[in-house]
Amino acid sequence: MTNPADLTLPEMAARLRDGRLTAETLAQAHLDRIDARDSRVGAFVHVDKQAVLATARRADAELAQGLDRGPLHGICVAIKDIFDVAGWPVRYGSHLYRDRIAATDSAIVARLRETGAVPLGLVATYEMAIVGPGNDGLYPQPRNPWNPAHVTGGSSSGSAAAIAAGMVRVALGSDTGGSVRSPSAYCGTVGLKPTHDRLPLDGILPLAPSFDVPGAMGRTVAETALLYCALCGTPAEAPRLSLDGQRIGYARAWSLSPDAHPQIVHTTDAAASTLSLCGAEIRRVTLPPLPLMTAAAAVLIHAEGFQTHRAHLAGDGGRMGRMPYQSMAAGAVLTESDIAEARRAAGLLRACLDALLQEVDALILPTTLTPAPAFAEFASGQARWTPMCTLPFSMTGHPALSVPMGFSDGLPLGLQIVGRFDTEPLLLQIAAAFENATDHGALDATCFTWRPSPAPRQAPFFMTEETN
């Protein structure tokens, strides 16, 4: 008999309604799975078992009374440790907030409760959702379920790790420069960064307000879509699998960046071919240079992050982890002129992308340019740039999604799909078609015996830090 924690969300929902499963049994299965696996991963940083089971029992009682709140009713959801959950120790992974207890629910968690979902626990974040993996935050960073010697990426590190390790099917993340998409790519899960301003940010720790968005993360595209639709309050429909008539632009040049792993371009080429077989018309397109877009985004994130955390940097910054402190303090060197020019550049680059997205319905490109780096590469405690293609779309505000597209060195890679504003359903449709045509998402990290990490490959060129 299948462990309830391994059912998909639609399977769980069906069984909750036909009497084969209760929300309490389902929650207990998740809690047992956390007990069995999390000591090797370290994704969860707070679980109140009695509260989880009590919430699940309420969900059961409502269903028994005929109150059905929809597809997430009775379903467990993990929460990134920057979303306020009333009464929970939401501490942002930082010693600065080690005694903090959230007073009220964040707007997103309140929406989750309205859908009947069961908050399962808090999962790790890179400290203050800034940079990592640091070794001096409030808790150790999770290990990648595909290989514990490797990082998960961040900052939604615990969300991706918990899903990949089979401890939960869906989780809340947040994305400022790639914090939903890069851990999804590194951990072989699905992550959707919605259009900027699509979802409310109240009760979520800010970093760079013109970039910050809450995101939906899941084991499969359909499950991610269910979470996203619940957060939006829109009816959930299974994404269509045909891509007939869709025009997809393939920005291949970014895959050929000097710091890209050689496998990236081959895997992304294969993804484009697969989408073509699904019925899409693939067109080669040219985006503005990745280094230029990344430079503009880096200036703006550091400028906004510096303002957000200025009081801490000048006051009790000594209690922050070194990586986030050092990264944010550097924003002090940016002048008003630097920031104004970066904003002007961002506007022009957004217009370039909008024009391109009139010629095609969506873009594809890699999410990250390497598989997950090893922890050993961060042993010095210094932040470093991890090559990725996420920052540009955080800056422009376009929706973007990462879906598993293959493996390199035994570690997952992610395909990024980017669309016009408010076209999340189309991105989910393209991702669902791709997922359906491949078996990447079907592989389970926990099916593989963890083994010693192979000798590290020659490290790619890193600029200085990982900015998300």
């Binding site: 280094p291 230029l292 990344t294 430079a295 503009a296 880096a298 200036v299 550091h302 510096f306 200025r310 940097l313 000048a314 006051g315 910054g317 000594g318 070194r322 402190y325 050092q326 990264s327 303090a329 550097a330 924003g331 002090a332 060197v333 940016l334 002048t335 630097d338 020019e341 970066a342 002007r344 550049a345 022009l348 405690g381 210094q382 932040a383 740039w385 600029m463 200085t464 830090e465």
Partner: protein, 53 residues
């Protein structure tokens, strides 16, 4: 970026790193940010130059 320039920029914001490792790491990131700002400035100059008058 010169050390004194960085110290002045940090001090203006009330930030006074006490550890050498912090200062060196901030300096490295600050250098990348200055390069990024210069890259943007050059690109905008090209854009303006290419604009029809």
């Amino acid at each position: 970026m010169e050390r004194q320039t960085l110290i002045a920029a940090l001090a203006k914001a009330g930030i006074r790193p006490t550890r050498d490792a912090d200062f060196e790491a901030i300096a490295r990131t600050a250098e990348v940010l200055r390069d990024s700002a210069d890259q943007i400035r050059r690109w905008l100059a090209e854009v303006d130059h290419d604009q029809p008058r």
